[in-house]
């Protein structure tokens, strides 16, 4: 499980996270909702280890590992996965090469046998079929020339291949039409089980119609100001963040 206690972080000396307490037990999907600038993306980057974010206090552990002390690649091998809000384009890096390198790097780090090209291709095709992705996307450069929807599907494909214990989806719904949204949600739902948990970060309630969370947390001003069941998302949609702020 993911356990965050009193986490504070800043960018360029400006405090963004002001004491986050959060627990995502194994097998559960939690949603974090909040207005722009509330610290949602910062939380996902701090947890995945991006440079430029300084943790000034608190702890974060995943399955007992102190993740804040680990390199990004070590966090990934330990089972952490970040689906990017804006997936990066990598011209000249073939998507198939990228996926296989990532998968094998993680397997190697965990002391598992690496997959050869044929084994990988078989696995990738199987996963892609489930996501309605064409084989052609394996041959292209990573995310190069992909539409917004294709990029997000490529994120979900990576998740499906890497089989993380915890996925953080950073506004994965932004810029998606309803069909793409369903495919992404199906991909996440297919992962659900006793060994998978997810933190779904979103601005809108819409995604949560398709990925129904066990818990919903409202992040405002760098703190979690309210938590509740899935009905909280509907409440926010109806009343807006202002009402929560007034009550908090």
């Amino acid at each position: 499980m993911l356990k965050i206690e009193g986490l504070t972080a800043e960018i360029d000396g400006k405090a963004i996270l002001k004491g986050i307490d959060l627990e995502v037990p194994k097998g559960e999907v939690h949603a974090i909702m909040g207005p722009n600038g509330s610290g949602k993306s910062t939380l996902s980057y701090v947890l995945s280890g991006r440079d430029g974010y300084e943790v000034t206090g608190g702890t974060a552990s995943f399955n007992g590992h102190d993740i804040l002390a680990m390199e990004p690649e070590e966090r990934a091998a330990a089972g952490l996965f970040l689906a990017f809000q804006y997936p990066v384009e990598l011209p000249g890096v073939g998507n198939a090469t990228f996926l296989r390198t990532a998968l094998n790097a993680q397997r190697k780090a965990r002391g598992e046998a690496e997959l050869d090209a044929m084994q990988f291709l078989k696995l990738a095709r199987e996963r892609m079929k489930a996501l309605s992705m064409s084989d052609e996307m394996l041959k292209r450069g990573v995310n190069v020339g992909f539409s917004g929807g294709e990029k997000k599907r490529n994120e979900i494909l990576q998740m499906a291949l890497l089989k993380p214990g915890l996925a953080i989806l950073d506004e994965t719904d932004s810029g998606l039409d309803i069909d793409a949204l369903k495919i992404v949600a199906d991909g996440v739902n297919a992962m659900r089980g006793p060994d998978f948990s997810a933190l779904v970060i979103t601005h809108y309630q819409r995604l949560l119609d398709y990925i129904v969370p066990d818990r919903v947390h409202v992040l405002m001003g760098g703190r979690i100001v309210k938590s509740g069941g899935p009905e909280l998302a509907k409440e926010l949609e109806a009343q807006g963040y202002g009402a929560v702020q007034a009550a908090a």
Binding site: G49, E73, F81, P87, V88, L90, T101, L103, A105, Q158
Partner: protein, 429 residues
């Protein structure tokens, strides 16, 4: 024997001593050519950084060394790179080695220049400009041999390898091969050149390349000598109407590399592609300098050069495009991109466009940067360790450069050359 003289004086002294023994010493036309070149070289010596075209590349280490031309040929075993094609011409220390070459069955004349000077007379010196390029003057003064190719009209020459190996004699040495490549109308050839070997040496080749009407030459070059070698090459190419000269150079190895290309598009609808990847690590220097003359209408030129610098190294790109008044509807493009992997690396980039025609499409661009932090984080967030993630991005940057190469043999060889350099950097880091 007195101590060897250094620099230009040393080369001039050796020319005086050798001139009666150099190939073609009994041919008055060649003696005159060499004597004129010696006058030009004596007047200018090695270019210093005060010369505009040499502002960023310091030849002092070359000018201060006491190189000698190898007087005897190496007869022992020579380590040759693995063959890429059935036909190859091998040169050791600048001398043609028929015993190591395989040229049987080629549908055109391919010889060591020293064996065929009479045939070469009308072409030797037709394009090189010893009066303005001192290194061409040095080459003309002292060349002994080189590759002489003459493809008749309409011949498809297929693939030919040019291998140039320097064998370390244990003291500083220099050689100045002169290559003449001539393609008749509508002839075709892919020439893949590998420069290998080591020792404290100066390899100073000059190419004179004639591409006639509708002919097409693909010229791949892999300059992969050891980090003790100075490689200074000058190419002169003249492309007639509807002809194509396609040059792709990987410079990755020598202590100092100057890849200087002068190309002239002299007939309508001629095309010239000059692409390449140059890499330097600790203590190395790479320089690509191109000068392209659009001297006829409706011609196209494309240049894409990539530079990767690691450690304390320096890279230079100078690209001049001159569009003459007659060259209407010129389509020119030039791009150079540099990736700096260390704080101590330096790139100097100088595009130069001179346009005298009014209906012209000409663009150029230059980028310089470190590895992209977002890309690196993306790879690492997927579990790929930092060093491997960096390697993937550098390879991607370099491989992009060879994407335009259509010949699969050449593309494979170039890619291996790029990967070998990067693997050596990794080992050194």
């Amino acid at each position: 024997m007195t101590a060897a003289q250094t620099g230009a004086a040393g080369f001039l002294a050796r020319y005086e001593g050798l001139k009666d023994h150099l190939p073609g010493a009994r041919k008055p036309w060649l003696n005159q050519l060499r004597a004129d070149a010696a006058v030009h070289f004596a007047a200018r010596g090695f270019p210093t950084r005060r010369v505009e075209q040499w502002k960023y590349t310091d030849l002092a280490p070359v000018a201060q060394a006491a190189f000698a031309e190898p007087l005897t040929s190496v007869d022992g075993t020579v380590r040759l790179p693995a063959p890429l094609a059935p036909h190859r011409a091998v040169f050791v220390d600048g001398r043609f080695r028929p015993d190591l070459s395989s040229l049987e069955g080629l549908p055109f004349r391919a010889l060591g220049l020293a064996n065929d000077l009479a045939e070469a007379e009308p072409h030797l010196g037709a394009l090189a400009k010893p009066e303005s390029e001192p290194l061409a003057a040095l080459n003309t003064m002292l060349f002994e041999d080189g590759l002489f190719l003459d493809l008749p009209e309409g011949v498809d020459g297929g693939l030919l390898e040019l291998v140039s190996v320097a064998v370390d004699p244990g003291r500083p040495f220099a050689f100045h091969p002169r290559h003449l490549i001539r393609l008749g109308a509508r002839a075709r050839l892919t020439l893949i050149e590998t420069a290998a070997g080591g020792g404290h040496c100066l390899h100073n080749p000059v190419f004179e390349i004639e591409v006639a009407e509708g002919a097409s030459l693909t010229h791949g070059r892999m300059l992969q000598e050891a980090a003790t070698v100075f490689h200074l090459s000058t190419i002169y190419a003249r492309i007639a109407a509807e002809g194509t000269y396609d040059n792709f150079t990987v410079a990755a190895g020598p202590r100092l590399t100057r890849n200087e290309i002068h190309a002239a598009l002299v007939g309508p609808k001629a095309a010239c592609h000059m692409n390449g990847a140059q890499m330097a690590g600790e203590g190395q220097h790479v320089d690509t300098t191109t000068a392209l003359d659009h001297a006829a209408p409706d011609c196209a030129s494309r240049q894409t050069y990539k530079t990767v610098l690691a450690g304390r190294s320096r890279g230079v790109f100078q690209g001049r495009i001159h569009v003459h008044r007659v060259a209407q509807r010129t389509d020119g493009y030039q791009m150079n991109q540099a990736l700096l992997l260390s704080e101590e690396a330096e790139i100097d980039s100088k595009p130069q466009l001179e346009i005298y025609a009014d209906d012209v499409k000409c663009s150029h661009g230059a980028t310089v940067g470190a590895l992209d932090a977002d890309s690196l984080f993306y790879l690492r967030s997927r579990g790929i360790p930092e060093a491997q993630a960096k390697a993937m991005l550098v390879e991607a940057f370099l491989h992009e450069a060879v994407e335009t190469v259509t010949d699969e043999t050449l593309k494979g060889a170039l890619t291996r050359a790029l990967d070998a350099w990067w693997a050596r950097q990794g080992a050194a880091a």
